[in-house]
C-alpha cells in the first residue's frame, strides 16, 4: 500500500527566508508524486508533480521539488518565502490509477 509521511506538522519561517517541506513516501513501484497547497477556506491548488524524467521539478509560485528515489523523498523548496505562502501544504503519492494518498499536511506560518 502507498503512504506518505510529512514529518513536520508546523513550520514558521521569516518572510524572505528559504523554505523546505519534507515528504517521504512508501510505494513499491515508480510513484506519481504531487504537492498541493490549501489556503484557508480554499480548495487544493496543484503546485507541481513528478512522474518521470528530470528529478528536479519546477512548479508554480516559485516552488520546486526534488525526487530522490534512494531516500524515498520528494521535498518541496522555495528560495524566498512571501507572506502569501502561508498555507497548508500536502504531499501526495499515487500511481497510474491516479488514486492519491495524502500526507497529514504541513502548516506554514510566515512571520514579518
Amino acid at each position: 500500500a502507498q503512504s506518505v509521511t510529512q514529518p513536520d506538522i508546523h513550520i514558521t519561517v521569516s518572510e524572505g527566508a528559504s523554505l523546505e517541506l519534507r515528504c517521504n513516501y512508501s510505494y513499491g513501484a515508480t510513484p506519481y508524486l504531487f504537492w498541493y497547497v490549501q489556503s484557508p477556506g480554499q480548495g487544493l491548488q496543484l503546485l507541481l508533480k513528478y512522474f518521470s524524467g528530470d528529478t528536479l521539478v519546477q512548479g508554480i509560485k516559485g516552488f520546486e521539488a526534488e525526487f530522490k528515489r534512494s531516500q524515498s523523498s520528494f521535498n518541496l523548496r522555495k528560495p524566498s518565502v512571501h507572506w502569501s505562502d502561508a498555507a497548508e501544504y500536502f504531499c501526495a503519492v499515487g500511481a497510474v490509477d491516479y488514486k492519491l494518498s495524502f500526507g497529514a499536511g504541513t502548516t506554514v506560518t510566515v512571520r514579518a
Partner: protein, 113 residues
C-alpha cells in the same frame, strides 16, 4: 486548467437527512474522484466515479452511505446519506485533466447538527 464547480459550497444539515453534492467540470475528463477531509485532517479518497457504471469505493466507504452518480464525462454527484455529526467534513471532487494533472474543486463544507 480544468475549471471545477462544486455545489453547494457549504451547508448545515440535520442528523438523519441526506445531502447531494454536485461537481461540474468545464471539459470532458476521463477520471473523477471524491475525497473527504475531516476537520484538521488530511484528505481521504472515498471513491472513483465511473462514467456509466457503479463507482469504485475505497476501503471503509460503502455505496449505501455515499452513493455516487456520473452520467457523463463532465458531471458527478456524491450523496452523503443518513448523516451524523461524524460526517461533518469538507468533500472535494477531483479530476484528471490534460498532461497528467489532478485538479480539485473548491470543496463543500458540510456541518451536521
Amino acid at each position: 486548467s480544468a475549471v471545477i464547480s462544486q455545489k453547494p459550497s457549504r451547508d448545515i444539515c440535520q442528523r438523519g437527512t441526506s445531502l447531494t453534492i454536485q461537481c461540474q467540470v468545464d471539459s470532458q475528463v476521463t477520471m473523477m474522484f471524491w475525497y473527504r477531509q475531516q476537520p484538521g485532517q488530511s484528505l481521504t479518497l472515498i471513491a472513483t466515479a465511473n462514467q456509466g457504471s457503479e463507482a469504485t469505493y475505497e476501503s471503509g466507504f460503502v455505496i449505501d452511505k455515499f452513493p455516487i452518480s456520473r452520467p457523463n464525462l463532465t458531471f458527478s454527484t456524491l450523496t452523503v446519506s443518513n448523516m451524523s455529526p461524524e460526517d461533518s467534513s469538507i468533500y472535494l471532487c477531483s479530476v484528471k485533466w490534460g498532461n497528467e494533472k489532478l485538479f480539485f474543486g473548491s470543496g463543500t463544507q458540510l456541518s451536521v447538527l
